[in-house]
Point group: C2
Chain length 223, copies 2
DNA sequence: CTCCAATCTGAACAGTGTTGAGATGCGTGC
DNA sequence: GCACGCATCTCAACACTGTTCAGATTGGAG
């Protein structure tokens, strides 16, 4: 469409589409702004009327994908197998959705998960992180996260899921059977949630002693 | 040293040093092979007698750093506070060392953790992953991972730690107080290990139903 | 129908990774 | 002590990149 026209119509999203396709074909960094422009049938400099720089384009693509992912996570929570209201099942579904996306679309996932798009403002809606937070709230209300355990629980669950997603997207971990990915993800979510729930009982023990890192910091600043 | 000499002496590691410094100064990707060569006082093409491409240089730097990190993790396990033989304490020390490194040297960490260096062969010794595995073995021998829980436990712990490290290195998560990082890391390790240890008792429940991902796969291949 | 502002083009700039032909000098064999 | 081979490095060039800017083109408002 729009072949031969001087004004393209919606060059902005056409460029985003081309960039996304190029990321899939040539890898996260194996493409150029000029290539994307050429694919859309437009001169390289045309892109600069829609994006301040190549990096801005990448960031925009990242935000678009992140919003799409947020919506997908939300939907897959609803479609969770078993009783729909089991908060743990929903979190497992969220995790599997997140991880399997990064495995099915690794190049794009690398681009997105590398950060930069997750800038503070950037009106990404729904942001994946917010979807996770909401599900954890649901679990807490159902009594799955007793006492003060809820606070900061996002970090723990998010780190575990994000870590698995990144390891898979970067190819640092491989599974032969695609079902193994789901099983592994389920295990990670279950383990993390169980560990969190159990936190209250073990809570007596305060973290004792400084870690090697804190030691280093203290030595450096003369503390 | 070696100023003005035609033959540099040890250009290979000099280039690695220059690249490492540039990564710290200008960010993970904000530097060029030419710049590194110039800094060493050598023509750009000289680098190609030591590295097949820029990417090879990056990978070599990555491997060098990974080996250094493995050694650091190993040492910080020994220097764990409290009783030196407590396997959980050792694992917490390992985690704090790993995470704090990625926070203290984020640009280099991004380069390394992005993968590619962790190729199957690449004689990285000691590989950080192997150090973790060894510590988990130690924990299992001490009875901390009952029954079949040990199998695949690396994935869970590694994912959680890696996730936290990557989130911090990419700036997606920030902590004001540097002590908070250690506390958060300790929480992640504790939670994960507790969750794993508890796995045996919950083990009756088999993973029920397919996730949305497996559903998609099944639909795609007509299963 | 005219004109404006948004949009796109074309040519140019500095800088990039990479290559190949030739200069240089270290270490080895005599 | 000396010549020579070969690893090492230089120089010049290639195609390509992101980016800029003056000017051509056009859809839509008045």
């Amino acid at each position: 469409m729009a072949k031969g026209r001087y004004h393209h119509g919606d060059l902005r999203s056409a460029l985003l589409d081309a960039a996304e396709a190029l990321v899939r074909e040539r890898g996260t960094d194996g493409w150029s702004l000029r290539e994307a422009s050429a694919r859309v049938g437009v001169s390289p400099s045309a892109a600069y009327h829609h994006f301040a720089s190549r990096d801005t384009l990448v960031r925009a693509l990242s935000e678009r994908t992140l919003a799409w992912l947020g919506e997908r996570l939300r939907q897959d929570c609803e479609r969770a197998p078993g009783q729909r209201d089991d908060p743990q099942r929903r979190l497992i579904a969220l995790g599997c959705s997140y991880v399997s996306w990064s495995l099915d679309d690794p190049a794009v996932a690398r681009l997105v998960l590398r950060g930069g798009a997750t800038a503070p403002d950037s009106a990404i809606s729904p942001h994946p992180h917010d979807v996770l937070t909401a599900e954890l709230d649901r679990l807490a209300e159902a009594g799955g996260l007793p006492g003060p355990t809820r606070e900061g629980a996002e970090f723990v669950v998010w780190a575990a899921l994000h870590g698995l997603a990144v390891l898979l997207a970067d190819g640092l971990v491989r599974f032969d059977d695609p079902r193994a990915v789901d099983l592994q993800t389920e295990r990670v979510v279950r383990t993390t949630l169980n560990g969190l729930a159990q936190e209250a009982s073990h809570a007596a023990g305060r973290p004792a002693g400084r870690s090697a890192h804190t030691e280093r910091l203290a030595r450096r600043s003369g503390g």
